[in-house]
Symmetry: C2
Subunit: 342 residues, 2 copies
Amino acid sequence: MPTIKDVASRAGVSVGTVSNVLSGLATVTEDLRTRVEEAIAELDYRPNLIARSLKKRQTNTLGMIISDIVNPFFPEMVRGAEDAAAAAGYILTTFNTDYRVERERQVFELLRSRRVDGLLLVVALIRGDLSHVQRAAAEGLPIVCLDRRPEGLELDSVTVDNTGGVRSCIEHLIERGHRRIAIITGGPGKYLAKNRLQGYLDAMAAAGLPLDPALIRDGDFRRESGLAIAKELLTSANPPTAIFSCNYGLNLGVVQAVEELGLESPRDIALATFDRLKLTEVFRPHVTSVEQPSYEIGAQGTRLLIERIKTPAEGSERVHIQLPTALRIAESSAGRLVAAGS
Amino acid sequence: MPTIKDVASRAGVSVGTVSNVLSGLATVTEDLRTRVEEAIAELDYRPNLIARSLKKRQTNTLGMIISDIVNPFFPEMVRGAEDAAAAAGYILTTFNTDYRVERERQVFELLRSRRVDGLLLVVALIRGDLSHVQRAAAEGLPIVCLDRRPEGLELDSVTVDNTGGVRSCIEHLIERGHRRIAIITGGPGKYLAKNRLQGYLDAMAAAGLPLDPALIRDGDFRRESGLAIAKELLTSANPPTAIFSCNYGLNLGVVQAVEELGLESPRDIALATFDRLKLTEVFRPHVTSVEQPSYEIGAQGTRLLIERIKTPAEGSERVHIQLPTALRIAESSAGRLVAAGS
DNA sequence: TTGTATGCGTTATCAG
DNA sequence: CTGATAACGCATACAA
């Protein structure tokens, strides 16, 4: 592979001059510039970005740590990040943690050794031992948290209005005449689960509806728990008229339960869920959903990060961007035909 | 950030010694080794992988060029690649081309400037101007093609048995009593489209069934064309009893058409498609599908690539791995209740 | 305006 | 077995 030296000698100039035409900054004679450019073309020269990084102490590389690219929530987010990164001259290297903190810690080490300029982070854990991120941030590595905000850490973040999203959806169900609305959560102690449940509580309270503990059920964000809980709910003595799932995994289980019990939505039960999946929309039932702007989370997070790289945050003034969700009303949340019971 | 020099002076040894304990290779006295390790811990030293890359002329980085991570076919493939890369001490940087060759060319330049050790490539185009990949390969950059094989290029590849996958599915439909089986392809001149159509032709020929040109329709792999073509097929004078879609995008359109016409599968029409999407399986209709081992494509491609990096291919002996598909039979391909017509 | 020299943080070669 | 030193390819003062 030709180096800058080869270009220089072929063009009959010094390496300094070649470097100058490469960076385009310095004023260099038209004559020399064309000679250098010819040499570059003839040699098929490509500047060695590794050497450049070493010298300039910047890699133009962003690290991105997510849970699992196979989880359909992430591809759009990654794409948003990648597009924003590319637009600013950065590249992205992505890592999956499968929600395991020890893996997150490994990746942190690796990324810091590779001297990434900044980090996009979807934390594996909201609380617990976050010392690796704390230390990295303290040592000056720009970090932007996506989707979830770890507790007790001063970091910029881009999240979604989980509470408001659920609230608007529950309000919609109430408006359609539902009073016995069940919610399946992601389980206690989880960031997303807590915030989403709050939206339910808010909406119910605002409508003056009583809370039935039997209708507020803890799942674990996975299909299996949605299936089991939905079956319990639907076969109980006093079943709900609507079920809200706190993420799409749970919703899959609920949909499955409805079919396995020989029921149909919206005829027998109204359904709604957090997360929108365009791919399933042509199938039945057509489920009402709360869509989050995944692409924007990635894109805006990346733009924020790059801004921080260029001008580091002073003191503890951090920015927290919270993006709105959108309610996608579909057939599954049709209203009750008769007046609601007690 | 501390450097190897800082570690050396703190441990009272030379940089050479520190380098030796880092690489673990050279024999170094137990005494010195512990002193160095202590210094490393105390300074929280992390070797600068950029500098190491410059010196060793290897980045331990693999480039991966795909069409679009948002296309549900890719996340599993990327995940497979990432896992295999991580297991071998490499990291992956991913790029989307949106099927645009000019973008592919840009990414090639970038990746070569960054001195990636190898490339995982899902080509944007099967034929046409592939000079950038040809040149890169000729200059010694290890490249493994995934999913599609570009024409006239000597490159290792990992693909799927597209023809066999479709054939087995059509055979299944025939076995269920279907004779008028329609196929919606990805359009003429495309690699995947051609191979998949061949499976249909093979199965029909083997069963001695006549080919009806009206049932072999060119789509473009997207939902809209699936919708339009399916509507035509279903409302024609002599409609098919089964429709096979050559990818999942087309299938989405077909499913939509069936519902919009007030029909139901399998009651009124049998359905089957290439590509399996686990997420849609709980919804109705439950569509029979040909599943490809996406994760394995990525994983095996990566392992092959790393092998090539370590021991480059001699001459033109290239390896082409072709992975089998799996037929996932679901409700939508139920048999005909009455004997099939002519 | 252009050329020269130094250093970025490592690894590797070679004396000692 | 350990230490000094020369690259790796580039950017950047600084000198000419």
